[in-house]
């Protein structure tokens, strides 16, 4: 094709943190392929892939991704990087979860009926949160008074948690942004972190040409390879948001 | 042969608003180049008839032939040849000039507009310099009426229908409108139908007068209408007693609608009562006005009898003989048989 261009659907976190604005110019310079992206919820991103409206996906919801491939929509799932999730809450920590294991923390929140904000939007983050409840042996809350589902993006959910003095689970990147917006003295603090289960894996998916013959499979593969290349992985490692390291490259 | 000169031929026209019949005309012919005056009380159907003649709507039943052919609203013939000055003239939200040329522009006739507008305005007695640039709302009632008239005259229509063209117009302008109407007929052969409550004016312009009453048409011109209720006496006489004690006695079959028409030619005038048979009505009243009917040289006289008005036509001779003048006491005389019931 004369104009080598690629359309990508991705999640808001990669866009909002500024990672793409940082990476993509490198990609375009090195390969001569121009890349446009639309940032949406993970669910909608996968849907756009399923409908062949984009050529490549960059998302973070491993179970949904696997299902996507199993259904024959996608191919070549390639893990490229991860960051992690943390539980944040008010400084005075009314449920006393600081330092606890993730399952104990959630139980404490439930027992104290402390306000907990869930995104409730089926995003990668929300899906992870549901797994955590399950792991803690707690039936998925829904209509409970203390369990508030915002149906909004991460930052909006954090802001609501702050207004309501509640807990929430967030990816670290968004928390850093939130912190910086509050001038470093954010009312909500990180209370639980570091558990292995809190890892947040990002992968590149190409679309199965059998489902989407018009999608630019070869260019998508090029992008996938490029993301996994050593130089790109170094770029990702060097990416800083407000002076803090955000993503850990882990391409194999 | 006969049809060729008919502009309109109405056959069995009935028109309803909802369930109310407002027009019922069996047969009406209007000749090319004639001027027809339409007379009738409020609500008698003048406006309705004019709208039908303008093909601005269809009659509920019946046919209207125009130049011998049945025509319909929006037909090109009608659109370019027939125009109606509505009773409540509506001016477009533009200048007077634009209002007057609107019809011409529709006809894609765009030559010498200024000259023609100047002429049209002067025909209705308005000054071009002063009025052409005015906005539609910067006019007095009569001025607006005359602008609307000018907008019709400039079209040189084949048929010009005027619905109370002088209702709010001053005497001088009424004269101008009469002259313009006559000129339209004489120079362009325009057929005119004009509704008006100003009988003197209407008589001075029209060749023939039609009286409308409750949707029925009387082609002999202005007539004297006596509305009920009547009292029935002896099975065949109907009597209306006036407030001053006088009574009118009429003969006829038991009427349901209770409205009597007495033609003006059946009425005679005198100064004193005479002996006569019991069927003769002799009513005393006051001569209220005398108007010249220019064409015939006759005089239309109005006589007030208590709260009724009678109209009759007199010769100058008769007037001289009886030394009549407005204010004089007179006797009207007509026979109880000389009546039509509607």
């Amino acid at each position: 094709a004369g104009n080598k261009s690629l359309m990508m659907a991705t999640t808001t976190s990669t866009d909002n943190t500024g990672l793409l604005d940082y990476l993509i110019p490198h990609f375009e310079k090195e390969t001569g392929i121009s890349l446009k992206w639309t940032a949406t919820g993970t669910g909608k991103a996968l849907k756009l892939g399923q409908n062949c409206d984009v050529d490549v996906l960059l998302v973070h919801a491993p179970p949904a991704e696997k299902k996507f491939i199993a259904k024959g929509y996608g191919k070549d799932r390639r893990q490229v990087m991860y960051n992690d999730f943390v539980i944040i809450g008010p400084g005075n920590d009314p449920a006393g979860i600081k330092g606890k294991s993730i399952s104990d923390a959630l139980s404490a929140i439930k027992n104290k009926q402390a306000i907990f904000m869930s995104r409730g939007d089926d995003s990668g983050t929300n899906k992870k949160e549901k797994i955590l409840w399950k792991n803690a042996g707690i039936q998925q809350p829904d209509k409970e008074k203390w369990y508030v589902q915002t149906g909004q993006g991460m930052l909006a959910t954090i802001n609501i948690a702050q207004e309501r003095n509640g807990y929430t689970m967030t990816d670290r990147g968004t928390y850093i942004k939130y912190q910086s917006q509050k001038g470093g003295i954010a009312p909500l603090k990180i209370l639980v972190e570091g558990d292995k289960i809190l890892l947040n894996q990002y992968s590149v998916l190409t679309l199965d040409p059998k489902n989407c013959p018009n999608a630019k499979y070869d260019l998508a593969l090029k992008f996938s390879n490029w993301m996994a290349s050593q130089s790109t992985q170094n770029l990702i490692r060097d990416f800083r948001l407000l002076g803090k390291k955000l993503f850990t490259p882990n391409a194999k | 042969m006969t049809k060729i000169n008919l502009t309109y031929h109405l056959k069995n026209i009935r028109h309803y608003y909802g369930n109310t019949k407002v027009l019922d005309i069996e047969d009406l012919k209007i000749e090319k180049g004639s001027i027809t005056g339409l007379i009738g009380p409020n609500g008698s159907g003048k406006t309705t008839l004019l709208k039908l003649l303008a093909f601005a709507g269809r009659p509920t039943a019946g046919n209207i032939l125009y130049n011998g052919r049945q025509e319909f609203p929006f037909s090109p013939t009608i659109r370019s040849k027939v125009t109606l000055l509505t009773q409540k003239p509506y001016l477009l939200k533009r200048t007077v000039f634009e209002n007057i040329v609107y019809g011409l522009k529709i006809r894609k006739d765009k030559e010498y507009l200024e000259t023609r507008v100047k002429k049209a305005l002067s025909t209705v007695g308005l000054d071009y310099q002063d009025f052409a640039p005015r906005k539609w709302h910067e006019l007095s009632g009569g001025e607006a009426q005359r602008v609307a008239m000018a907008a019709r005259l400039i079209l040189k229509p084949e048929v010009l229908l005027l619905d109370e063209p002088i209702a709010s117009v001053d005497a001088k302008s009424a004269k101008l409108i009469r002259e313009a109407s006559l000129k339209a007929r004489d120079t362009w052969g325009t057929t005119l139908v004009i509704a008006s409550h100003d009988l003197q004016w209407l008589y001075s312009i029209s060749d023939r007068q039609l009286s409308l009453f409750k949707g029925n048409i009387f082609s002999t011109g202005i007539e004297n209408i006596i509305t009920g209720p009547f009292e029935k006496i002896n099975g065949e006489s109907l009597v209306k007693t006036l407030g001053d004690g006088q009574a009118i006695t009429l003969k006829g079959p038991a009427p349901k609608v209770c409205t009597a028409v007495i033609k003006k030619d059946s009425i005679s005038i005198d100064l004193k009562k005479q002996a006569g048979d019991s069927g003769l009505n002799q009513l005393s009243g006051l001569l209220a006005s005398m108007l010249l009917e220019k064409k015939s040289g006759h005089i239309m006289a109005t006589v007030s009898i208590h709260d009724l008005s009678f109209v009759l036509r007199l010769t100058p001779d008769k007037i001289s003989r009886l030394n009549l003048y407005p204010g004089k006491k007179v006797i009207l005389r007509f026979h109880s048989n000389e009546v039509e019931w509607i």
Binding site: G41, K44, K47, L48, D121, D142, T150, G151, Q152, A156 | -
Partner: protein
């Protein structure tokens, strides 16, 4: 394409099955839109009347300003209201954030210029003769307002219906001020936005149809006010 068909079926399911999250959203939507419409009509009709009826010096400027306010983005209104009623804002004490009342305030701001502008332009079209007739029949100022508005009732109805459509479909204010909290401040429109972002397009369509049905029922019950 299929999801549109699926959406229609789902819409019926949602309503028939009495899905509680749908029904609470419908209720929330009705509550806030009714409230904001009452407020904006109450304020907008007299304002629109004054602007349309009287000739004053800066009338044209006021009209331009009003027309500009028709283009207030909902997110903008949402942010502005948020600034006032968030805990750090001047009205923070009132606890209006993340409440239906907060949304209603924002939507009133949204609907007010629409009601006012359309009312004003309807009133401007009023016959001069009507004004003169009312004055000469002895109408006072309140009578003039009431009668003029009644004379142009179809225009006023159009103003209200247009504003209602705007209020019913706005997302920005409900999202920002209400927070889209499930079972509490989630309205039908914020629910649509959520389902769509989840990629559940059929659910989005279904909720959209639910919203349109609300509008339909409201308009149907208003239609008796229409000219026969």
């Amino acid at each position: 394409m299929d999801f549109i068909v699926a959406g229609f079926i789902k819409a019926i399911e949602l309503l028939v099955s009495g899905d509680s999250s749908t029904w609470t959203a419908v209720l929330a939507t009705l509550q806030v839109s009714t409230c904001s419409m009452l407020l904006s009509i109450g304020a907008g009709l007299p304002c629109g009347f004054v602007i349309g009826y009287f000739d004053f010096k800066y009338k044209k400027h006021v009209r331009t300003l009003l027309d500009t306010l028709l283009a207030l983005p909902t997110v903008f209104i949402g942010l502005a209201v948020y600034a006032f009623i968030s805990h750090q804002g001047p009205l923070g004490e009132m606890g209006l954030l993340f409440t239906l009342t907060g949304i209603a305030i924002g939507q009133t701001i949204l609907a007010f210029p629409i009601v006012t502008a359309i009312t004003a332009s309807t009133i401007e079209n009023i016959d001069q003769d009507l004004k003169l007739t009312l004055v000469t029949l002895g109408a006072g100022k309140r009578h003039i307002i009431a009668t003029c508005l009644w004379e142009v009732r179809y225009g006023i109805l159009a103003a209200a219906v247009t504003a209602y459509g705007r209020v019913l479909t706005e997302v920005g204010i409900s999202m920002m001020v209400g927070g889209n909290i499930k079972y509490q401040t989630r309205t039908v429109t914020t629910a649509i936005a959520l389902e769509t972002s989840k990629g559940l397009f059929a659910d989005g369509i279904a909720l959209g149809i639910v919203l349109i049905m609300i509008a339909f029922i409201v308009n149907l019950s208003l239609s008796f006010l229409r000219r026969q």
